[in-house]
Every structure is written in structure tokens, then in C-alpha cells.
């Protein structure tokens, strides 16, 4: 029991408390609100606000010290003086079926001279006539007086050759596909690209800044897997999917592997998954198909199903430059948005004239150039298969084949020795050169290129030399 004094204290506390509450009722409302706000602010400052480190700004003196201290790396790293690129062979004369190195002639299986148009007298004459009419350079881009009537003629001829609506030419083979891809495919668009495409396509894909999905070389099931994945992704977000363009980037005949793409199946998938096909036929133009019209002729597919075919004038045609053919709807866009077309000088007219004459030769009624080339490629393939110790990569009808040594002996050094040896015997072949930052660096190999004018004896000789080289090198 509390004492009467305690009792009194409690009672007075109670009355005090009661009068406190009463006074609350009498204070103005805003006063209460303000007090509550202050209390909450104090609570927040104590509990939730992290103390900020006060960063002092750098003084001018400190900045100058940093600037004085900074040392850049040298502009270029030290180079290896023995790198093969610094010790290339310097040739003289026409680089045709035979080439002359250090005064000695040898058979040329190294340059991309499939139809032996380099040094062809008819083409030479036409080029000389063009120089006498137009001079050498075109002195301007296509938009500003650099369009010469011979360019328009070449574009028409190419479109006619491929039975397409329109053609467009570029002045450099490498820039052709590297400018085409970024003209259509922008950021956020989707590119399905074969891993084995050559470097120019890789650069075009990089320049486009699109989403890239690589699929294993020539592996249709891998491509299907990617397409199915993308489809599932689309179904989750159909509105966005309606704005994303999709492209399939492939080559007709792969330069790094010598094999054909499985085009029929890819065209089927095109209509199923709604993507567009851009095919690069640099190597297959003039070499595959009855009349050299490429992979579409070989598989007998309607060329209108391929949205754009790009190719090069530097391989079979023996000139310089590149081109693209397709429907007007697709090709015309490049005239204002392909950087390598709009911002660069046009092709020198003599090279355009040479290309037109080469097309004339290819389109002649009784020509059997491409047929013969395919036949000889098959024969060479058989002969090469007979040599022990080499792995032949490539289709039998392909005039471009890659040779590798079997097992673990396949190194660049050994291949270079083979090339050296072959050179002493009068055969010129080359190790395929790649840069280290390829997306998927192909295995070291010798790139063998067949010239249509090679006779059977010369092919036999090539095989003999290759056999001897193999023996010599792996001893």
C-alpha cells in the first residue's frame, strides 16, 4: 500500500497529465503538426541518414601534378622483325596463272584468280580504252559528279546477270559487306551470324551495334535452337518483337572453310521465323553453279527469296570493288545510307570497264568456264584425297580448298615449311593469313585456289609436290 504522500504524488501526476492532454486540445492544429514533423525529422536523421564523406575538390596544383605524372604508352608496341607480314615476297609482272618471283616462274595456286581473268587480253584492251576515254580516277563520290555512265552500265549488267531488279557497286571489296550490314541493321536489331564468316562481315556486324547471335558453322540445328529461343523471348513481349528486325548473315561458299551453306533449309526457316537473308557470295560468284550465278543457281532456289546478295569483283572477275544485287526496294536504300558508298570516291572507270568485259566473257553463249571449273575442282579433290597425311577441308566442287596436316602436327611453322619447299619446286601456295582478333580463329591451313586454266598435268604436279613436302616436313 502506498503512503498517503505517494498517493498524492500519483494523483498530482495524473492531474498534471490530464491537464497536459487538455492543453493539447487547446493548441492550434498547425503547432501540433509542426512538432510532430520536427520529431520525425530528428528520428530520421538519427536512424536513416548516412553520413556523407565530404570530398575535397582537387586543387590546381594537384591537377598539374597528375598531368605531369601521366606517361602514355608508346603509340605502337615493339614489332617482331621476323613476322611474315614484314618479309613478304615482292612480285613482278602479271599475277596470273604463273607468277614470277626473283626471276623464276612458278605455278600460282595462291591468288583468288579463279577464272584466270587477270591479264586477259580482251579485258586489258577494254581497260585501256576506258583510260583513253575517262582518265584514271573518278575524282568524287557518287553523289557529287562521281557517277560515270560506265558505273550505271555495270550496275545494270550485274542486275541482269543475276536476274534481279537492281545492282549497286562499291569501290572496295572489303567495304562492301562492311557497309551494307550497318545500313539495314541498327541497334537492337537481331543478327543471326554463322561463326565461320570472313573478317569483313565480322566488322560489318560490329559496326552495326546490333544484337549478334552466333551459331556454329553450318550447323542448322544450332541455328534452329537460337531461333526457337528468340521466338520464346518474343512471345513474352510481342509489342517489342514487332519492331525488331532479324537478319541471317551467311556466305554462299565460305572463304575460311570452302564449304557451301545449307541454303534450302535456311530459306524454309526464313518463312517460318520471319527473318531476312543477306548472303555474301564473294567466292561463289563465277565459280559455283552451271553459269556461275552462285549458290542459288546450284540449289535451284528463286533468287527473289534471298533479300540481298553481296559479292566482290576482286575474286573471279579480276577487277577491284564489290557489288550487291537484289530487289529495288532493298538495294535502293543503300544509295543514301551505306557509308562506304556515300562518303567514298567511286570506282575508277577502267576497273568498271574491266568488270563489264569479264561479265561479257562469262555470259557468252558457248562458255563452259564455270562448268569446267567445277569439274576440275572435283578432280583435284579426288587427287588430294589420295595423298596421305593431309586433311582436305571443303566441298569437292569448291575451287577453294583448305589443306591441314593431320593430327596434332598442324602448326603454322610446319605449313610455312611446306610452302617454302613448294616454292623451290615451282609451285606457289600460301598459308591463309588471319588477324588474331577474328571471332573464331580458323585452324592453320594452306589455302589452295584452283585456276580454271590449270591442266591435268599441272594438277598432278601439284599433288606430287605436296606429297614430297609432307614427307620432308614430318620427318
Amino acid at each position: 500500500m502506498g503512503s498517503p504522500a505517494n498517493h498524492d504524488n500519483v494523483a498530482s501526476l495524473a492531474t498534471d497529465f490530464y491537464s497536459l492532454l487538455e492543453s493539447f486540445k487547446e493548441t492550434p492544429f498547425y503547432h501540433l503538426l509542426f512538432e510532430i514533423f520536427l520529431v520525425l525529422t530528428v528520428l530520421w536523421l538519427i536512424l536513416f541518414r548516412k553520413p556523407r564523406r565530404i570530398e575535397k575538390k582537387l586543387t590546381e596544383k594537384e591537377k598539374q601534378e597528375l598531368i605531369d605524372e601521366w606517361q602514355p604508352e608508346p603509340l605502337v608496341p615493339p614489332v617482331d622483325a621476323n613476322h611474315p607480314a614484314l618479309n613478304v615476297r615482292v612480285l613482278d609482272g602479271i599475277v596470273g596463272k604463273t607468277i614470277e618471283i626473283d626471276g623464276k616462274k612458278s605455278l600460282n595456286f595462291a591468288t583468288f584468280n579463279f577464272l584466270n581473268f587477270v591479264g586477259n587480253p580482251r579485258i586489258t584492251d577494254k581497260a585501256i580504252q576506258a583510260v583513253q576515254k575517262y582518265g584514271v580516277g573518278s575524282c568524287g563520290p557518287r553523289g557529287f559528279y562521281g557517277t560515270i555512265d560506265i558505273h550505271l552500265e555495270l550496275e545494270e549488267r550485274l542486275a541482269h546477270f543475276f536476274n534481279c531488279e537492281e545492282g549497286i557497286i562499291y569501290s572496295y571489296g572489303f567495304s562492301t559487306v562492311a557497309s551494307i550490314i550497318p545500313a539495314y541493321s541498327k541497334r537492337n536489331d537481331i543478327l543471326f551470324v554463322d561463326e565461320g564468316v570472313h573478317y569483313a562481315i565480322q566488322k560489318g556486324v560490329e559496326a552495326s551495334r546490333s544484337t549478334v547471335k552466333w551459331f556454329r558453322h553450318n550447323d542448322i540445328s544450332d541455328l534452329e535452337r537460337l531461333l526457337v529461343e528468340q521466338d520464346i523471348h518474343d512471345k513474352k513481349n510481342p509489342k517489342k518483337a514487332r519492331t525488331l528486325r532479324r537478319f541471317l548473315i551467311i556466305e554462299g561458299l565460305y572463304m575460311n572453310y570452302g564449304d557451301l551453306c545449307p541454303l534450302p533449309r535456311m530459306v524454309e526457316l526464313k518463312y517460318q521465323y520471319k527473318y531476312r537473308i543477306f548472303m555474301d557470295e564473294s567466292v561463289s560468284f563465277g565459280t559455283i553453279g552451271q553459269t556461275g550465278r552462285g549458290v542459288t543457281e546450284y540449289y535451284n532456289i528463286d533468287r527473289r527469296k534471298i533479300d540481298l546478295i553481296s559479292s566482290s569483283l576482286e575474286y573471279s572477275v579480276g577487277s577491284i570493288g564489290g557489288f550487291a544485287v537484289g530487289s529495288s526496294f532493298v538495294v535502293d536504300h543503300q544509295r543514301l545510307s551505306a557509308q562506304g558508298y556515300c562518303f567514298s570516291a567511286s570506282l575508277p572507270p577502267l576497273l568498271a570497264a574491266a568488270a563489264i568485259e569479264a561479265l561479257n566473257i562469262m555470259e557468252e553463249e558457248d562458255t563452259t568456264l564455270c562448268d569446267t571449273l567445277m569439274e576440275k575442282s572435283k578432280r583435284l579433290h579426288q587427287k588430294l584425297l589420295d595423298i596421305k597425311g593431309y586433311l582436305i577441308v571443303g566441298e569437292d566442287i569448291s575451287p577453294l580448298k583448305h589443306l591441314r596436316l593431320t593430327n596434332s602436327q598442324n602448326t603454322v611453322a610446319r605449313l610455312e615449311e611446306i610452302v617454302e619447299f613448294a616454292q623451290t619446286r615451282g609451285i606457289t601456295i600460301t598459308v591463309a593469313r588471319y588477324l588474331n582478333d577474328e571471332h573464331r580463329l580458323p585452324e592453320p591451313s594452306i589455302r589452295l585456289i584452283l585456276n580454271v586454266e590449270m591442266t591435268d598435268e599441272e594438277l598432278e604436279f601439284l599433288c606430287t609436290v605436296l606429297q614430297e613436302a609432307r614427307v620432308k616436313v614430318t620427318v
Binding site: 580516277g137 530487289s327 577502267l350 574491266a354
Partner: protein, 510 residues
């Protein structure tokens, strides 16, 4: 080709570049112009969408269900503005792009959507082609050399430089270029655009900084992008802004990690093709030395055209060629051929030979083109004043001064450096761009007029490209016609040089 003055024109580097402010009335009417074009554009697009008007242009072969290949707003400008004046661009020619040009006459029946050739040729004075030293020729000793070379070396090697594409000619060209410029070594490529786009990535990569001028050419921008380095843009020719950027970048380091930069590369051009301005080379070299950056100089338009000996802006500003780390240029403009080169120290060139995309994969240069360049270089290297090379350089310099001074005295607003052979005169609005072009063509002069997007929106211009193959008479004719057309279009509005009639602007050029 007549030479005005047998003695060389004294070349004093000039620091004055005048950029007159846009007159208010011009800016106002240009915006009105664009607004009207836009309104009509939307209206016509509406008509096309509702099929009241027929869609011109082609349609896609693919069945429906495919995502449209082009966004319609991307091509709004093309359909509604560019298409109206499309006859001013892509004009085909039928002969040598020399001092005079043979244009193929073409007519359109459906407002520039398609063209037909009448078969006639119109001869015009050519102020549009990049033919600074007048070497575009289809006869003469150089053409004979070219024809010999076609017979001896064929038209192409069909092989890349790292494989079997090197002829003795290519080596000769490279050593001549190095001799001409005064550097240790040089390397040549088949396309000028590709030289920039493919080689900057061998010099810079991730972790590097590229400081690029606002008005750099597309090839430099693409090359910088492909390299993967961080790119910062500074205002055109503004050395103070560049210095501020340099200081701030070195102090703060790479973004986010603040690691120090591996290297800093400043990319500039010798002569800027749309402004006609020169880079401020002495100040750039001073800055580069102070901050230990590297300098990449693109002399596409200035090699052969600037400098008392034709060696480009380094020659013009009388700087030391070893101070510029990477000298790049093209053979398309002054040499009337095709291709590009990079010159510099031997380690740099060796590194490029090993690592360049163009060396490893692209086919090497065509031998007749190489021969053309070699012949021109032989003429230009010769320092004898009475010889062909020097005569042409002097003629170009005289033409430049003469034309620029008379044009500005006549009241045109002219941009650029007083000694640059690229002469832009401002037109401002898109309709004047078309009108000037067509009116000059009627009078027998072919010019290049450009608007958005190659230039800022309000600053459409006509760009005269002078050449050593222009005679004084040709230039006088052009100036007289420009006076007529300028009055027709109310172009002669300069406040700095109030307009005077043609005959009052006669002067001795120096």
C-alpha cells in the same frame, strides 16, 4: 592551262578565318522553309497512306508478317525533302572529270522519282569534282604510263598484301610517298575511306582516349568507333576547349575505374571539306607536346593542294613533319587516282603492316592506279619551279586567292581559310540549294550544293572546288554567273563585305 605568274606565289601562313554570323532574316526564312516542307510532307504521307495518292518507289517481295525493313520516320526526310531536289545529286558524267565536264542530260517525268537519259551531253565548267591539281586526264605522258602498266602488270593482283599482292610497283609507291612527305616510311591502301576506318583500331583500343574534332569525316568517326576507345568531341578548331578536355581527361582518368589512360590520340583533318577551314597545326603540335598526346592528321583534301611545295598543311604551316605522329591522306583528290596512305615512323608502319585489317584481308591496289600516283608524285617531288608539278601547285594557289577574294568582295558570305581551295558560300535554305544548282547548270557551270544532314540545319551551302586546270577566263565566267544567280536568290548579303558588282572587284591577287 595558263599560268598567271611564272614566279611562285609567296605563301605566308595566314591565321585569319572569318565566319560571318548568319543574318537573322536568312535564318528566319530557312526555318519557315523547313516548316512548310514538313507540313506538306505530313500531308503527302497521309495521302499516300490512305492510298489517295499512288505510292511511288518499289515494294517488298516478302509476304506480310515480316517486320518492316525501314521505319517510316527514318525516310521521312528522304521522301519529302531530298526527293524534291534529287536531280541536283548523283548526276552522271560521260567523260573525264577535268576542268570541263560532260554531263549526261537527264529528264524526269515524275518529279525526280525516276530519270530518263535524252542522249545529249552538256559541257559545263566543273567546280564540283575533287581535281585540285588538274591531273584528271585521259591523254598525256601520265596516261601513257598507266596504259603501259596495265599491259605489264595487269589490272589486279587478286591477293592481299600479306600474301601475294605485293608488286615492285607497290614498294616504289610507298617509298615515293615517304620521300614526298619527308617521313621514314609509308604504306598505301586501295580505298581512302577504308584507310581510316580500318587502321585506327590498330593504333587505339579499349583504355585509350580519342579526341576528335566536331567536323571530322565519317570515315574517321567510324574508325574511332570500331577501335573501342572512348571518344570525346571538341568544338571545331577550338584549341581552348581541346586543352580543357585534355586536362580534365588526364586528371580524371578512364570513366568509372579512374585508371590512367593508355594513350590519347587527337584526330584532326588538314582541310575540312564542308567548311573550307584549316586545322591550327602549330597550336595542336604545341598542345600535343605539352600533354604527351599523339596526333593523327587526315590530309584527304590538303595533300598536294596546300603548301608552297604541295606537301600539305604541314608544309603550309612550316611545321616539322616528325611532330605529327600519323600522317594520313588519300590519292583520290589531288592525284586523280584512288586509294589512301599512312606515313610516319618505321615502327608505326611496320606495326600497321602486321595488324591492319586491310593488309591481311583486302586485295592490294590496282597496278594502273599505282602507276598514276607514281607518275604524279614524280612530278610533284621535283622542286624545279619551271616544271609541271610546281606550275600546277602555283596555279592552284593563284586560283584560290583570286576566286575567294573576288567572291567575298562581291558580297557572298564565304566560309573557310583564305588559302583553302575548298570555297563554301552560304545559301542557308533548302530551296535555294536546289535553285542555285539548277540556275548554274542552265548557265553551264556544275557545282555541288549541300544541305542537311551533311551541314547544320540552317547552313545549306554551295561548295566550289577549285582546280589548277581552271583558267582565269573560266573563273571569271563562273563569277559573273554567280553574280547573276546570287542576285536572283538574294544571296549577296554579307555585312563584312558589302556587295559590289563584278567589274569593281578586279584586283591583283596576293
Amino acid at each position: 592551262m595558263t599560268v598567271r605568274d611564272p614566279t611562285p606565289v609567296p605563301e605566308h601562313p595566314s591565321l585569319e578565318e572569318v565566319y560571318e554570323a548568319t543574318p537573322f532574316s536568312e535564318a528566319f526564312w530557312t526555318y519557315v522553309n523547313y516548316i512548310i516542307l514538313n507540313i506538306f510532307g505530313w500531308f503527302r504521307d497521309f495521302l499516300r497512306r490512305t492510298r489517295i495518292e499512288n505510292r511511288k518507289g518499289s515494294a517488298e517481295y516478302n509476304p506480310s508478317g515480316f517486320v518492316p525493313l525501314y521505319q517510316s520516320y527514318e525516310s521521312f526526310y528522304t521522301r519529302n525533302v531530298y526527293q524534291r531536289i534529287a536531280d541536283c545529286f548523283n548526276r552522271p558524267i560521260g567523260g573525264v572529270p577535268g576542268g570541263k565536264l560532260d554531263l549526261m542530260e537527264r529528264v524526269t517525268e515524275d518529279y525526280n522519282w525516276s530519270f530518263n537519259f535524252t542522249g545529249n551531253k552538256i559541257t559545263t565548267i566543273n567546280l564540283g569534282s575533287y581535281n585540285y591539281l588538274g591531273f584528271a586526264n585521259n591523254n598525256g605522258p601520265i596516261a601513257d604510263n598507266v596504259i603501259e602498266s596495265i599491259k605489264e602488270n595487269g589490272l589486279a593482283t587478286a591477293s592481299s598484301t600479306q600474301e601475294f599482292g605485293n608488286l615492285k610497283q607497290h614498294r616504289k609507291l610507298e617509298s615515293l610517298v615517304a620521300q614526298f612527305l619527308g617521313t621514314e616510311d609509308a604504306i598505301a591502301f586501295g580505298m581512302g575511306f577504308a584507310t581510316n576506318a580500318l587502321n585506327i583500331s590498330s593504333l587505339c583500343g579499349k583504355g585509350c582516349l580519342i579526341l576528335s574534332d566536331e567536323l571530322n569525316h565519317t570515315s574517321l568517326v567510324l574508325g574511332a568507333r570500331l577501335s573501342g576507345a572512348v571518344i570525346k568531341v571538341y568544338k571545331h578548331n577550338d584549341m581552348k576547349h581541346l586543352e580543357r578536355l585534355l586536362r580534365d581527361s588526364i586528371v580524371s582518368g578512364q570513366p568509372r575505374t579512374h585508371r590512367p589512360w593508355q594513350k590519347i590520340l587527337i584526330i584532326v583533318e588538314g582541310v575540312y571539306s564542308m567548311e573550307g577551314s584549316l586545322c591550327k597545326l602549330p597550336e595542336l603540335i604545341e598542345l600535343k607536346k605539352k600533354y604527351r598526346a599523339y596526333l593523327y592528321l587526315d590530309e584527304a583534301h590538303s595533300i598536294g593542294a596546300m603548301g608552297s611545295r604541295g606537301r600539305g598543311v604541314v608544309d603550309y604551316w612550316k611545321c616539322d613533319v616528325n611532330d605529327v605522329d600519323v600522317l594520313m591522306g588519300t590519292f583520290t583528290k589531288s592525284f586523280a587516282a584512288a586509294g589512301g596512305y599512312i606515313a610516319g615512323k618505321k615502327e608505326l608502319i611496320d606495326h600497321i603492316r602486321i595488324n591492319s585489317h586491310a593488309c591481311a584481308y583486302a586485295i592490294s591496289m590496282s597496278p594502273p592506279v599505282v602507276e598514276q600516283i607514281i607518275s604524279v608524285l614524280n612530278l610533284l617531288i621535283d622542286d624545279d619551279e619551271t616544271r609541271e608539278g610546281r606550275k600546277r601547285i602555283n596555279q592552284l594557289a593563284w586560283n584560290t586567292r583570286y576566286f575567294r577574294q573576288r567572291l567575298s568582295k562581291m558580297g557572298f558570305i564565304v566560309y573557310g581559310h583564305p588559302h583553302s581551295p575548298v570555297v563554301p558560300a552560304l545559301l542557308y535554305s533548302p530551296s535555294k540549294i536546289a535553285a542555285f544548282n539548277r540556275e548554274m547548270l542552265k548557265r553551264g557551270v556544275s557545282v555541288v550544293t549541300v544541305g542537311f544532314p551533311a551541314t547544320p540545319l540552317v547552313l545549306g551551302r554551295v561548295r566550289f572546288c577549285l582546280s589548277a586546270s581552271h583558267t582565269k577566263e573560266m573563273l571569271d565566267d563562273v563569277l559573273k554567273y554567280a553574280e547573276e544567280v546570287g542576285d536572283l536568290l538574294n544571296m549577296r548579303q554579307s555585312k563584312l563585305n558589302p556587295k559590289k558588282p563584278f567589274h569593281e572587284t578586279e584586283l591583283i591577287a596576293h
